[in-house]
């Protein structure tokens, strides 16, 4: 049986990051951020200057929301199976909020696309895909898998691990190890999916 929401504060050290009335505005801000990032992504996917359909944008945003829900559900279930309770909606709020790190990575990647002269050091921050020509990243499936790996990814994983540490009283290193393992599994799954989708057909590089 689930612990009622009113008892969560006593059951866990994970608090809401904001006062409750600010949460809708916070989620709205995140949605606007991802909406704008999706416009950039979809324009790159079609061709520069093309208009992006609202349906594609809504689907992209729905995909993001679904991803956060799946991630939160997975961690919630994983710890529940071990007899620990990770408060779902608070953790969901942390997962959604931590995606700001990805938004920063997006913004940096966009600036590098506009001005390729920006230093290669940005690849360490926003993702290895920004580095020029690492041969091991030449396959699109590998780029999809590891291309976004950078300091901002580590920040996002650390925030996720911190939330688990706060909620469950784990050692931070242990929470980070689990989080890193699950992140790696999700990237490997993405690699499998991209590679299976294309089969022997080559994907566009870039």
């Amino acid at each position: 049986m689930d612990v009622p929401i009113r008892d969560e504060r006593r059951a866990t050290g994970l608090r809401w990051p904001f006062v409750p009335w600010a949460l809708p505005f916070w989620y709205l801000g995140l949605a606007v951020g991802w909406w704008r990032a999706s416009i950039q992504d979809l324009r790159l996917g079609v061709h520069a200057g093309a208009t992006v359909s609202s349906l594609a944008l809504v689907l992209a945003l729905a995909g993001k929301l679904t991803g956060w829900l799946i991630e939160s559900t997975f961690y919630h279930s994983f710890w529940k199976a071990r007899g620990r309770r990770l408060p779902f909606w608070r953790f969901f709020c942390v997962v959604a909020s931590a995606s700001i790190a990805d938004l920063f990575a997006h913004a940096i990647a966009a600036s590098v696309h506009r001005s390729p002269s920006h230093g290669p050091w940005l690849a360490w921050v926003a993702g290895a895909q920004l580095a020029r020509g690492p041969a091991w990243l030449s396959t699109p499936a590998l780029r999809a898998m590891l291309g976004t790996m950078g300091v901002l990814t580590v920040v996002r994983l650390s925030i996720t691990a911190w939330a688990q540490r706060a909620a469950l009283g784990l050692a931070f290193a242990r929470a980070l190890a689990w989080t890193a393992l699950f992140w790696l599994m999700s990237r490997v799954a993405l690699f499998f999916a991209v590679d299976l989708t294309s089969g022997m057909s080559p994907l566009p590089k870039g």
Binding site: D2, F74, F78, K80, A81, L196, G199, S201, P202, P204
Partner: protein, 169 residues
């Protein structure tokens, strides 16, 4: 065991199982021996061939699905960048189509040479999966390479010499 713990265990197990199944599918796909593509009219049904029948210097084949507007748009873009009858000669391959394509849908393609992949060779034997890609063949029908969809085809086809064959993943 309480219900919440059981549900958590089931979701964790399901996730792990899905991951392992996906990995298994990937291993099976990567270790499968796919045939190297070959321009062989004997393996396909020729549904339209109104072009010049003289020997071509090279060929390109574009697989299209008649229900896919995106790859039909790719075909239009390729056709706009070429003159009729120009080299390399274009073969439009209708794929993932169980019933014989109607004359109307074939006419809609506005292509000189249209083949129908009745037996699913492109997907099932060659292991290719992306509509709108371009497979290049030399004059003898030997496979050269595949260009990804939405590639800068016109430049590639005009400026690029034909390299030696070999399947690329």
């Amino acid at each position: 065991m309480d219900r919440g713990k059981l549900v958590g265990l089931m979701i964790s197990t399901l996730t792990t199982t899905l991951f392992l199944m996906l990995g298994g599918c990937w291993i099976a796909d990567r270790t499968h021996h796919w045939e190297t593509p070959r321009l062989d009219p004997g393996r396909f049904s020729v549904v339209s061939d109104t072009g010049a029948t003289g020997a071509a210097q090279a060929w390109v084949m574009m697989p299209v699905n008649l229900r896919c507007p995106h790859c039909l748009a790719s075909l239009r873009a390729l056709q706009r960048s070429r003159r009729a009858g120009s080299e390399p000669r274009l073969v439009v391959l209708i794929v993932d189509q169980e019933r014989e394509p109607s004359p109307r849908s074939v006419a809609m393609l506005r292509a000189e040479t249209v083949w129908w992949d009745r037996a699913g060779v492109w997907r099932g034997r060659w292991g290719h999966r992306l509509y709108g890609e371009l497979l290049r063949f030399d004059a003898s029908g030997k496979y050269v390479e595949t260009l990804p969809p939405a590639f800068g085809w016109s430049a590639a086809l005009e400026g690029k010499p034909l390299p030696q064959g070999g399947e690329t993943p």
